[in-house]
Chain length 131, copies 2
DNA sequence: ATAAAGTCCGTACCATAGTACGGAGTCAAG
DNA sequence: CTTGACTCCGTACTATGGTACGGACTTTAT
């Protein structure tokens, strides 16, 4: 006799919090089983797999909204899914570029601080200050 | 006779919204002038410079909280400010590393999609799906 | 004087992904 | 039966940096 899958069990088996599952249900990315006339809701085993998919996709940088779209595509749409992955990869490239630019600016300011002998003036403050 | 600096004028001259200034005041990073017995609040001209400082520091990746700390250090503490900039630069490096790792993973998955002749199986979906 | 623009103030909302809580009801084990 | 664990449900909160709104009051320009 297999244990019924209550929300706590699903949470434990999929490695998330009960609250997180409730949130996913409200978000619509997880289906909430009907409340039985007696006892607690019983979740299908597939729910666990679905949650694991969600967490792994999150680790790839997809938002919940994007993950919902991936799940809708499902298997058999490799082209579409690859396209989504390419878009995400491009977005991440963009972020990296931004950060690299930022880092360069900061490095420049830090170097200016190191080489500026006048403690009365801070090149960073000067840069940030109006004028 | 110089125009009094009401909040709208300050907003216009510093390039932010009135609502943003109100938010900064609530946040505590901008001082809210006392309400005169008659008429609107009059802002000191220094408020404009301070807001410009804030926006420029934001562009360097500092949070409002961090900016408040920078502003408190003020000029004359180049060492401390440089230290903050170094910490921010290090944090950004960390972010870049994370993103690069993510990009590599995605690239690997995308490549697998391109070289997989079986449309029935999507390497991305396989990777995300529970094992 | 009038109307439009501006300010004030308190409150609520946005996006994202959760997290927490209180009270009520249910289930399971001793 | 009792107690503790669990579920349910509705509501609120977190972090960050804003943005919006409604009603009341003030200022400005015609």
């Amino acid at each position: 006799m297999q244990k019924s899958l209550t929300i706590g069990r699903v949470a434990e088996l999929s490695g998330v919090n009960v609250e997180t599952i409730r949130y996913y249900q409200r978000f619509g990315i997880i289906t909430e089983p009907k409340k039985p006339l007696e006892g607690y809701r019983i979740y299908p085993e597939a729910t666990i797999n679905r949650i694991i998919f969600i967490k792994r996709a999150q680790q790839l940088g997809f938002s919940l909204k994007e993950i919902a779209e991936l799940l809708e595509l499902g298997d058999g749409n490799c082209g579409d899914i690859m396209k989504r992955a390419e878009e995400k990869r491009d977005y991440i490239n963009h972020q990296i570029d931004d950060l690299l630019r930022l880092k360069t600016t900061l490095d420049t300011l830090i170097t200016a601080c190191r080489t500026d002998d006048e403690a009365a003036h801070c090149p960073i403050v000067d840069t940030l200050t109006a004028k």
